[in-house]
Subunit: 192 residues, 2 copies
Amino acid sequence: MRESKDDRRVKYTKMVIKESFINLLEKKDLSRITVKEICEDADINRATFYSHYTDVYDLLRKIENELLENVNAQLSQLYEKGKKVNEVDLAERIFDYIKENAKLCRLLLSERGDISFQKKVMIIAYDKIINELTDNNKISREDAEYVYSFAITGCIGIVQKWFNDNMKKSPRFMAEMVIRLTLGLINISKQH
Amino acid sequence: MRESKDDRRVKYTKMVIKESFINLLEKKDLSRITVKEICEDADINRATFYSHYTDVYDLLRKIENELLENVNAQLSQLYEKGKKVNEVDLAERIFDYIKENAKLCRLLLSERGDISFQKKVMIIAYDKIINELTDNNKISREDAEYVYSFAITGCIGIVQKWFNDNMKKSPRFMAEMVIRLTLGLINISKQH
DNA sequence: AAATTTAATAGACACTGTGTTGACAAATCA
DNA sequence: TGATTTGTCAACACAGTGTCTATTAAATTT
């Protein structure tokens, strides 16, 4: 099973493929990006691309999964310390991460990215937050699911708005706002 | 300017192209759909396709625009009656329309569709609602924009959740929920 | 109903990108 | 070092694209 991920050649190849792809993605729409183009830009043979990825969408999916893993790692880091974790701190950590990886996140989380993936990001980020919040507050499961859907995609929208404002607001500000809005939604749902 | 949109042949051609495209879109991803495929399914010459649309994406964009126009028309209808319009009624009208055109809306508004378009739908739907709501309540424009972004994409999420539940909830239920959540968000923003 | 306009078709064109193959070369391991 | 993986490469047949011309058929106009 142990793939020779260590092989320097492979590492290099994958690296340049990703770099070239991301650079192209900044310039043009995903649907217009060809394998040929990526390989020319990366200066590798097309067959090499196919030995690593089945097509452009496969490549994108793998890049997305890496991002998901990274976000997960960010959150786990916080929890490992064993302390009781504040929701705003948790959210702030995510916004920090997004800001640090702005180039890639802009591409994957913007209006041009795909929602399924964006929801995944928000769900892992939200998961811990929401569980903590709802364990105490009793809301009907069914209604709650609609409110969650609203909140999760709402989050996507607010992150996109943040991008469009060139991330002028601080991660802390964003974190506080998102948590405030989420808490608010949960309260509304409790009222009925 | 007046294009011969009246010609029966053109009408028929455009109709079968759209039908075939939508049927294909139900089966496979947009990126995998070819002009050739559409034309074979529609039993139309490929050159005929190119005389109406530049490519598959152009076709999609035109279908999306038609939907936008229809939603707009729905809302205008309500306003024409001159009466004072209730926000929930307005929202309900949208949900009714979505339900009536479920086949297409599922494709365009689902996780697989593109967010830019979905935001456009929500914005025209929300526009009138939000203006009425915020004229009375004073929120800082800047903060408000973030809350709007949250609410607009939140709406997309709740519609998708509705689809995933096979639209079991009534349009009225959905309308009430969306308005309640939106009003709630605005109130939270007023508190600070 | 005939004349005129306009759309759709068949088929061919060069072109671009795809996915695969078998030979070669470079990195890894003993 | 020499043997063995395993990544890389150039060349291939093939799909779909977008455009064009001559021809047919259907609509609109007179």
